[in-house]
């Protein structure tokens, strides 16, 4: 059992204050073997936090990150090949999750939007089974027509988008946005991946909704063709 | 020793012993002498045991009750008889060897007016004396058995406390207080010493009981009968130190005697002594009167 954390789009401090305390507690060191970060780490503190979670941290470059990190990363864990890319390079953006349709993490949706379709194309081109990409507002899993999975862990901080209204009302204490903080935890076992999506409740920061999904790599003969 | 003398033929040929009535039940004084009241009958038995081998020829056996005052000043021994009452219990006779003869005796209504006293310079004694007169050239055989006489006196009518303020100007100033001036022999001296001014470093403080004998107008030196530390360390101004001295712990104490047969007097003093760090002594002496209470006799 190998645990892989997919997380990213922190945007601290560019778009929001900090990572929720509840998530900091969940991301305790010593449990998770690999971290795949989709980028926009922005601050050293968050990077240090990720490196405390695990020794093996891969970070792809987001649009606000410096040039230190690569655009794309390929990692093999057990019998699964993971690709990692932030996704802002993958055009078009239109039809991103949350734009054209409100994706929920409740089910693995078939690829539907132009952006996700492009991500799948990238996944095929990179020759990976699972592509972890950012730019989503909440965790979303999308399976390809012919197998393969795109995992979008969403924003770990629930960083608001520029179109979310500023909480200017004095009475409005919370930082409510259309986005919900979340990440995806993957339990890799051979060619079998169990995915858990973590989404923080908007009203109760202590509450985290977890959902479980399963992904199985199509079959070995198909993978031979992929290579 | 006796055996050696016997071989030489000069040892006492008989053993004379005095046994007082109810001797084992009687109270004894510090020298283990049985105590009698002044008018009490002194009775008992004298036994004469002639040693085996030789009969004892004597010229009469006499039992006396005697009392006298011995003066011990220097080499000069003086003796004054107070009392001598005799009984002749056997005329001249020969007692066969090995025989024991007993002679009961009783001195009724003889007056023993003064207490027994053992001092440095003077001693007042009572005794039952047995004399076996022997033909010349032998000395008479004398055996004495000491008695103690003690009498209780009524408590004094006035028993004022002693309170005094003394001192050396600008050096030491104290006030002391004793509960009484008269104490019976089992009494407790209770007192207090207040320090009003202390400019010397006092190390400790003691109470001494001192005694002075006066025999025929000659004062003897003060004799310290008891020493009792009442304070350890240096007091400061305003300190008050308690004194509680149990006289019973000193069995050699006697009552104060103002005049015994016109021969001697005994006086007691309480002496408060402070000793400073350089061992200088500061003292104040005050006479106290001791008496023997009826309770002390019991």
């Amino acid at each position: 059992m190998v645990l892989v954390l997919a997380i990213g789009d922190f945007y601290v401090p560019h778009r929001c204050c900090e990572l929720a305390q509840r998530f900091r507690e969940l991301l305790a060191p010593g449990k998770i073997q690999h971290v795949l970060c989709t980028g926009n780490v922005c601050s050293d503190e968050i990077e240090a936090l990720l490196r405390r979670v695990s020794f093996d941290v891969h970070i792809a470059r987001g649009e606000l990150d410096g040039p230190a990190w690569p655009e794309r990363v390929v990692v093999s864990i057990e019998q699964i090949r993971f690709g990692l890319c932030h996704g802002h390079q993958v055009l078009p953006w239109s039809g991103r999750t949350g734009d054209a349709f409100t994706a929920t993490a409740s089910s693995v949706s078939a690829e539907a939007t132009a952006h996700v379709r492009a991500l799948h194309a990238l996944r095929r081109d990179m020759g990976v089974d699972v592509l972890v990409a950012g730019m989503a507002e909440r965790p979303a899993l999308t399976s390809g027509k012919l197998g393969g999975l795109v995992v979008q862990p969403g924003s770990a901080t629930g960083a608001p988008r520029v179109t979310d209204p500023w909480p200017s009302d004095k009475a409005d204490n919370s930082c409510k946005t259309s986005n919900a903080p979340g990440f995806v935890l993957m339990d890799v076992h051979g060619s079998h991946v169990t995915l858990y999506t973590y989404v923080q409740d908007r009203d109760d920061p202590q509450q985290v909704h977890v959902e479980k999904h399963v992904f199985e790599r199509p079959d070995p003969t198909a993978s031979a063709l992929l290579l | 020793m006796n055996a050696a003398l016997e071989v030489l033929g000069v040892s006492s040929p008989c053993v004379v012993s005095v046994e007082l009535d109810a001797g084992e039940h009687r109270r004894v004084d510090a020298r283990r002498r049985p105590i009698y009241a002044p008018a009490e009958t002194v009775s008992g038995t004298v036994s004469v045991r002639v040693k085996s081998g030789r009969p004892l020829a004597h010229r009469g056996i006499q039992i006396e009750c005697v009392g006298f005052i011995d003066g011990l000043r220097g080499r000069r021994h003086t003796r004054q008889e107070l009392l001598s009452v005799g009984l002749r219990c056997e005329e001249a006779d020969v007692i066969p060897a090995g025989e024991v003869r007993r002679y009961p005796f009783a001195f009724v209504d003889i007056d023993k007016p003064y207490d027994t006293y053992d001092g440095i310079n003077v001693r007042l004694r009572y005794a039952v004396r047995v004399t076996v007169q022997r033909p010349q050239p032998y000395h008479p055989i004398v055996e004495e058995c000491d008695l103690a006489v003690q009498q209780a006196t009524p408590p004094p009518d006035l028993n004022p406390s002693i309170r005094m303020e003394v001192g050396i100007e600008d050096v030491l100033h104290i006030e002391f207080e004793y509960s009484h001036s008269n104490f019976h022999l089992k009494d407790v001296v209770i007192g207090k010493i207040y320090f009003l001014l202390v400019r010397v470093k006092i190390k400790r403080m003691e109470i001494e009981i001192r005694r002075r004998e006066n025999v025929r107008g000659l004062h003897s030196e003060l004799e310290t009968v008891a020493k009792y530390e009442v304070m350890d360390g240096a007091p400061v101004r305003g300190e008050s130190i308690p004194v509680r001295l149990f006289l019973a712990q000193y069995p050699t104490l006697t009552p104060t005697y103002r005049s015994v047969a016109g021969v001697f007097t005994v006086k007691y003093f309480l002496n408060l002594v402070m000793i400073d760090e350089d061992d200088r002594r500061y003292w104040k002496q005050h006479e106290v009167f001791l008496w023997r209470d009826a309770k002390d006799m019991a």
């Binding site: 401090p13 078009p92 | 001192g167 350089d278 200088r280 003292w283």
Partner: protein, 913 residues
């Protein structure tokens, strides 16, 4: 009264005689011999104690009880040994008494002896007790008998032992026995011996004191009187230890006294444990008598220790009831007494008391504890000012503040006053800071400096990516603080700075509301007393505590509060002397440096500063304007980090602003956004460009009627791209972002879109490398291939792809050529798929067949080109394998969704193999 000099009789019996050799040694080497003497003396005394103790036990077993008691006196007689410092007038020739050979048993050794004696006495006590259990005896004779010893120390120890049994047997009222013993103990006036004796008295009696609910009958008043009396006497003895002490001995003497401190304090502790002690009793009897003793003794050490002892021993509720008295006493203590630590202890205790229970708050309130403290503390301090260290004083303020914040958190004015006192205390103790140097130079450069581009800089060593430009720090209202060095940094006391920090952290911990903290006017004043580094750390802590805004409740909605907050964090906002800005050689990003060295960690602090904007819970633009002004004073190295969140927040404000103030007001907001972005562009063009794109997205989502601002944002982005982005990698990624954003904008009118899109294509084809050109053109193709979004211009999309393929083919390296063509191929396949999925009708029927055909043909041609390239490549050439794998995957997909790609297959020259 008579005085006589009788040395011979005076020294007898004080201690057993020692050998002449030891005495001689003491004469020659007093210091060394004294310790040897002491050890030997102790050893001998202990041996005698053991011996006499055995004798006592033997006699007791033999039924000789009176003799056993006498033996117990002999045991205790060992405690008559001289203790402490020998008499200064001791003479060498008198060698018989050990007291004459200088120093003898130290209190520590004496204590060992004392313990040994106590052990023997415990045997006596248990023996006597078990005897009483078996026979109906009276204790009185034993009590009297114990008093027969001629030595006062020797008889008092067994007397106490027998007395304790006497009380236990209940043959006499405890009160009477206690009173008697207490009185008799006055016989020992020697300080050390007296202290130990009375300590034993207390120890033997403390469980036998009549008390409420206690075992022994009698009034608790009597117990209190007993303890107070014993305390008084012990204290006097203890104070007396110091008397007549030669100057050289003083330190050692004090040390010894401190060792004995607990003996005296035990009385107070015992008093405090009495169940019957009521508030009234404490207030009316106990405390007045205790404090009277404390004040009367006029001894610095005793006052210090005893006050501390009183404060620590008694329950807090009693202190609350008697606060004025306690403080009054503190004020009357002698100069030199460490009254601060006493008060500190008191305040700490009250603080804990208040924290322990909510009911305690009312108690404190009723007692008016705070007023009393604040009224008295300055007086107490004034009475002691000359004598104590600054750190002690601060320690006191720390404790008081802790108490205040726990018990009376709402009394902010007092908190402020205390902080003011701290500031005063520090500034009074320190020399006045040097006046700020005034020079003409400083007034010259008023505006924040614009960054110089790296090209102007002289070349630096290749291994250092940074180059430095020294700049004059911006002069502003921060100048005064910058020019005066922090005075607390000057003090020698290493405790002052940490203490000040702790003092300043206290309100932070207790006031969750930012308003509360901001209302403390003295807070920044105290803060300025710290060295700069600490000021910054503290300011960062202020921010950390305030963020996220959820925890501070209402956030910042008014200008004064923002001003106060900015005042608090000013050390973080401003550039300080000695700091300079260095620019990254390649990216031109500014960093903070001191003496040519990069400052590590400042970014984390600036990230906190950047988050101030999240506290703003308002749509009042003035606050944002003020914040920008404050942020700008930090210089480029800081604004690089602090401006983006401000800009982003402003953009999010747009929708609210429009709804509340109408579209016209948005002009003002957007104008301000442009100002902020232009500030940002000066320091970090690439981020500024991204923020412009975000601006465009924000305007697109808002319900503004025309696309003027939208266009403006995009146009600015282009300007930045053209003028500021020099690096080719950066150019490429920026362009991709421009294209991506452009693709999502819905409210641009067709003309504007057209012009912006063609600009993108133009820039794409002018990028530095062929690879960038190719990939950028592929990206641009999406601008025209949005089938669902209605921007479907097949010819232009195809045109982009063809230009991309041309760029790819003109690449020099064959492997790269193949890889780039594969990118083009993938893009073409994606467009085909999109076309097919989203608009099958358009694709199959409505759209002209030639478009479909063109795409299919183009795709097939690309596949053929790649194949062709791959056959000509060396098999092991770098990139060749990767290209082959990618081609295989693309073909496999073509095969798998064959119905979609039928058109492509038809046109493939080599078939689908």
């Amino acid at each position: 009264m008579t005085r006589s000099n009788n040395r011979a009789s005076g020294a007898t019996g004080t201690a057993p005689p020692t050998s002449a050799t030891a005495a001689a040694a003491a004469v020659f080497a007093a210091a060394k011999a004294s310790t040897l003497d002491e050890a030997r003396l102790l050893r001998e005394a202990l041996a005698r104690v053991a011996h006499q103790s055995l004798r006592m036990q033997r006699q007791w077993k033999g039924g000789q009880y009176a003799e056993a008691v006498v033996a117990a006196c002999d045991v205790a007689a060992e405690l008559r040994v001289p203790v402490g410092v020998g008499s200064p007038s001791s003479t060498a020739e008198d060698t018989t008494a050990p007291a004459r050979s200088g120093r003898l048993l130290s209190p520590r050794s004496y204590y060992d002896l004392y313990l040994a004696v106590l052990q023997a006495l415990r045997v006596l006590e248990t023996s006597l007790w078990s005897l009483l259990q078996s026979q109906p005896l009276s204790v009185l004779p034993f009590y009297e008998h114990a008093q027969h010893s001629p030595y006062v120390v020797a008889r008092l120890y067994p007397l106490i032992t027998v007395g304790s049994v006497y009380v236990r047997s209940r043959q006499a009222p405890a009160e009477d026995v206690l009173r008697d013993l207490l009185e008799m103990c006055a016989g020992v006036q020697h300080p050390e011996r007296g202290l130990f004796l009375r300590a034993y008295l207390l120890q033997a009696m403390k469980d036998k004191l009549p008390d409420e609910g206690g075992e022994y009958a009698g009034s608790a008043q009597g117990s209190i009187a007993f303890l107070l009396r014993n305390f008084t006497e012990m204290n006097r003895l203890w104070v007396r230890m110091q008397r007549d002490c030669p100057a050289g001995e003083r330190a050692r003497r004090e040390h010894e006294r401190r060792q004995l401190q607990s003996l005296v304090g035990a009385n107070v502790a015992c008093l405090a444990r009495l169940q019957a002690l009521t508030v009234e009793m404490y207030r009316d009897t106990v405390l007045p008598q205790l404090t009277e003793q404390v004040l009367e003794c006029q001894d610095v050490l005793a006052q210090e220790c005893l006050m501390d002892c009183i404060v620590q021993a008694f329950p807090d509720a009693l202190h609350v009831a008697t606060l004025p008295h306690l403080l009054q006493t503190c004020a009357a203590l002698r100069v030199g007494v460490d009254v601060r630590s006493v008060l500190t202890g008191l305040a700490d205790r009250l603080g804990r008391f208040a924290r322990a229970d909510a009911a305690h708050h009312t108690l404190l309130r009723e007692a008016d504890a705070l007023q009393t403290l604040l009224q008295w503390v300055p007086q107490v301090l004034d009475s002691q000012r000359a004598a104590s260290a600054l750190s002690d004083e601060l320690q006191l303020y720390r404790a008081l503040l802790g108490f205040l914040l726990v018990a009376f958190p709402e009394q902010r004015q007092h908190c402020d006053a205390l902080l003011g006192l701290c500031a005063k205390a520090v500034s009074q103790r320190l020399p006045p800071p040097a006046p700020p140097p005034t020079s003409v130079d400083e007034t010259e450069d008023v505006s924040p400096p614009a960054p110089t581009t790296t090209s102007e800089l002289p070349p630096t060593r290749p291994d250092t990516p940074m180059s430095a430009t020294r700049r004059r720090r911006p002069s502003g209202d921060g100048q005064a603080a910058a020019a005066t060095p922090a005075p607390a940094a000057d003090t020698d006391d290493p405790d002052v700075v940490p203490l000040l920090e702790r003092i300043l952290l206290l309100p932070l911990h207790h006031y969750t509301e930012l308003e509360a903290l901001a209302s403390l006017a003295a807070y920044p004043t105290v803060m300025q007393l710290l060295p700069l580094e600490n000021q910054r750390a503290l300011a960062a802590e202020v921010l950390r505590r305030s963020l996220p805004p959820g925890s501070t409740g209402r956030g910042v909605a008014a200008l004064p509060l923002l001003e106060a907050l900015l005042g608090l964090v000013r050390p973080l906002l401003e550039q300080m002397p000695g700091e300079e800005v260095m620019y990254h050689r390649r990216t031109g990003v500014p960093y903070l440096a001191v003496d040519g060295e990069l400052v590590r960690g400042y970014e984390a602090q600036q990230h906190l500063v950047a988050q101030i904007v999240y506290l703003l819970r308002t749509d009042d633009l003035r606050l944002f304007v003020r914040l920008r002004q404050a942020l700008l004073s930090g210089g480029p190295a800081r604004t690089r980090l602090t401006l983006p969140p401000l800009a982003f927040a402003l953009l999010r404000l747009l929708r609210v602003y429009r709804a509340r103030h109408g579209p016209a007001a948005c002009d003002k907001l957007l104008e301000f956004v442009h100002q902020v972005l232009s500030d940002l562009a000066d320091v970090d063009a690439s981020t500024a460009l991204r923020m412009h794109l975000q601006g465009a997205a924000a305007v697109d989502a808002s319900e503004l009627s025309d696309d003027r601002f939208l266009y403006e944002f995009m146009a600015h982005a282009y300007v930045l791209f053209e003028e500021e982005i020099a690096d080719s990698r950066s150019q490429f990624s920026s362009l991709v972002l421009i294209v991506g954003t452009l693709g999502t904008l819905h409210r641009l009118d067709a003309d504007n879109y057209e012009s912006l899109a063609s600009k993108a294509v133009k820039h794409a084809s002018r990028l530095l490398t062929r690879a960038d050109q190719c990939l950028a053109l592929c990206a641009c193709s999406t601008l025209f291939s949005d089938v669902g979004g209605g921007r479907w211009e097949a010819s232009r999309a195809l045109g982009c792809l063809e230009r991309a393929a041309r760029a790819a083919r003109s690449s020099v390296a064959p492997a790269e050529r193949a890889l780039l063509l594969l990118d083009v191929l993938n893009r073409a396949m994606l467009i085909l798929e999109e076309l097919h999925e989203r608009a099958p009708d358009t694709a199959r029927d409505a759209a002209p067949n030639d478009v479909w055909d063109d795409f299919c043909r183009f795709t097939a041609d690309t596949v053929d080109s790649v194949r062709d390239l791959l056959t000509r490549l060396e098999p092991d050439a770098s990139g060749g394998k990767a290209a082959a794998a990618r081609l295989a995957r693309a073909l496999a997909y073509l095969r798998d969704v064959r119905e979609l790609h039928e058109g492509v297959f038809l046109r493939l020259h080599g078939g689908a193999a």
